[in-house]
């Protein structure tokens, strides 16, 4: 078979996690518009500092440059992409076709998400698709790996992906979330990235529960960079499944205005260190949302060099 990629510049997420290496991933948020210069700058900045980069798929239901196009761009520039696929904007046919394309272009890892709802985004009149959702998307990929599409038809050759999913440790109530976590594993999820975690005690409790459900599946903590008291307040009030505890909010409030970003970097670095030192999880996923420039600084402050993990 012809894969339109000569050779992979980087080890895959699967190879890293299965070798027992602590995985460090970053995130690229594609731009709204056809100028991709800044995004390319971020890709080049991060590609050797992190093992792989997630690419968001019309994040928060806001239309942007596509995740698949960005994943290929990352590949072309010698980085390793983790392709986020949501079910909000494409039905099963479109997703299957995209996955065929992704596979032939050397995309090896797919993060399966349901996707945010349309009304939270910037195309509020659009039709939501949700033909399938995250668990069924995992099933769909497994099907394609077995050489079949969801219509039951044979593919001329199968695909193969390292199948990722997400879980929300701060979900309330947590019980249905854990049942869904189990279902995702059953449907084929091999690794997880979590929704943003800040309360590390709660994260530890979550990890204990998760390990009881499956002690082999890989779990990476999602860390969103804190940038100021306003953002913390916003997230606590508006972002479901995200909770910034009082002590961190206080640490940020007490920081002088010009040191808020530095404080956020310090908190993030501390969390990374804790995940590594206390062997809390299998990796971290750093979401700097618009501040990708400081990711190398976060890693430096955490004393993390991916070539030495």
């Amino acid at each position: 078979m012809t894969l339109l990629i000569e050779k992979h510049a980087k080890p895959s997420i699967q190879e890293i996690l299965e070798s027992g290496t602590f995985l460090v991933t970053g995130e690229i948020g594609p731009p709204k518009g056809s100028n991709i210069d800044e995004m390319i700058h971020h890709i080049d900045l991060l590609k050797d500092k992190v093992h792989a980069m997630n690419i968001t798929d019309n994040q928060s239901s806001v239309m942007r440059y596509p995740s698949l196009g960005t994943a290929i761009l990352i590949k072309e520039r010698g980085g390793e992409p983790n392709l986020q696929v949501t079910c909000r904007d494409r039905n099963r046919l479109a997703i299957e076709a995209d996955l065929l394309f992704a596979y032939t272009r050397g995309i090896r890892s797919v993060l399966c998400l349901t996707g945010d709802s349309i009304p939270v985004g910037d195309h509020k009149d659009a039709k939501s698709v949700f033909d399938i959702e995250s668990v069924q998307l995992l099933q769909l990929i497994r099907n394609m790996e077995e050489g079949k599409d969801l219509g039951g038809n044979e593919l001329n050759e199968p695909v193969s992906f390292y199948k990722g999913a997400i879980v929300t440790p701060e979900a309330n109530p947590i019980e249905p979330q854990m049942l869904k976590f189990r279902k995702k594993i059953e449907a084929g999820a091999q690794w997880f990235q979590t929704q943003a975690v800040y309360d590390m005690d709660n994260f530890k409790r979550f990890m204990e529960q998760a390990r009881k459900i499956d002690d082999k599946v890989k779990i990476c903590a999602g860390l969103v960079l804190l940038t100021g008291p306003g953002q913390i307040k916003y997230m606590n009030n508006n972002v479901p499944g995200v909770f910034v505890p009082e002590n961190l909010a206080k640490e940020m409030e007490e920081a002088p205005k010009e040191e808020r970003l530095a404080t956020g970097i310090r908190i993030c670095a501390r969390q990374i260190r804790m995940c590594i030192d206390e062997k809390l999880c299998d990796g971290v996923h750093i979401m700097a949302i618009g501040k990708e420039d400081v990711v190398p600084q976060i890693l430096e402050e955490a004393g993390v060099d991916i070539t030495k993990l």
């Binding site: 668990v135 249905p176 979330q177 049942l179």
Partner: protein, 219 residues
């Protein structure tokens, strides 16, 4: 119950531009309960249209405007007023409006927006609980429909937008998955929550829907 909302009067007037003789149809069923097309609203509409210089050639309010034979019968009963009209203003759901479509060749105008098949919580307070998907899944989910009551209509548990039992799209709306979880827990049937449901057949009721019951149907 089909839930309707009245279109703004200005919009209705715009629909009727160029027509001066109007016949108004109201519905004694759902639109009466919704107070969008009952006797009272039809009388009010007649008055307002007349104030705008229109001639209302006649009005009728009867049960089930969606019943096409019934509608044709009503039109025959009101033959004179119907024939005098240039257009028809239908104050009920889209089904009723299209039932009137079958009874006349003249212009037919909707006075309402049809919003959903709703349950009546109390007068003037309706909630969508069934979206007529054609393949009922209530048995598996404690008789709480995720296809309708979850904004995303997903089948395998809550999405990341669930928030203290509420939905991310509207804090006033319950997260269906929290309701389903609690109900199945009460019934001791959480195994159903844990089961993986494959992709739904969205064509179970292929649009436009059509059913012909062989034994019962027909008049």
């Amino acid at each position: 119950m089909i839930i309707t909302k009245s279109k703004p009067f200005e919009e209705v007037l715009k629909e009727l531009e160029g027509e001066s003789k109007i016949f108004i149809v109201g519905c004694g069923s759902c639109a009466t309960t919704c107070e969008t097309g009952g006797e009272e609203q039809v009388a009010e509409m007649k008055k307002r249209l007349e104030e705008e210089g229109k001639t209302v050639t006649g009005t009728t309010v009867y049960e089930e405007v969606c019943h096409e034979l019934n509608t044709k019968r009503k039109f025959r009963e009101n033959k004179e007023a119907v024939e005098a009209a240039e257009g028809f203003l239908v104050m009920c759901c889209g089904a009723g409006c299209q039932s009137v479509r079958e009874a006349t060749e003249k212009a037919v105008h909707p006075a309402c927006d049809t919003v959903f098949l709703g349950n009546i919580l109390r007068l003037g307070n309706f909630e969508e609980k069934c979206s007529l998907c054609g393949e009922c899944v209530l048995e598996d989910f404690g008789a709480i429909c995720p296809v309708t009551r979850c904004h995303k209509g997903i089948l395998n548990g809550p999405c990341g937008g669930t928030d203290n039992g509420k939905c991310e799209t509207d804090r006033e709306k319950d997260c269906a998955w929290t309701l389903i979880y609690k109900q199945l827990e009460k019934e001791g049937k959480l195994d159903r929550f844990s089961r993986i449901y494959g992709p739904k057949n969205w064509q179970a009721n292929m649009k436009p829907g059509r059913v012909i019951f062989e034994k019962k149907g027909g008049e």
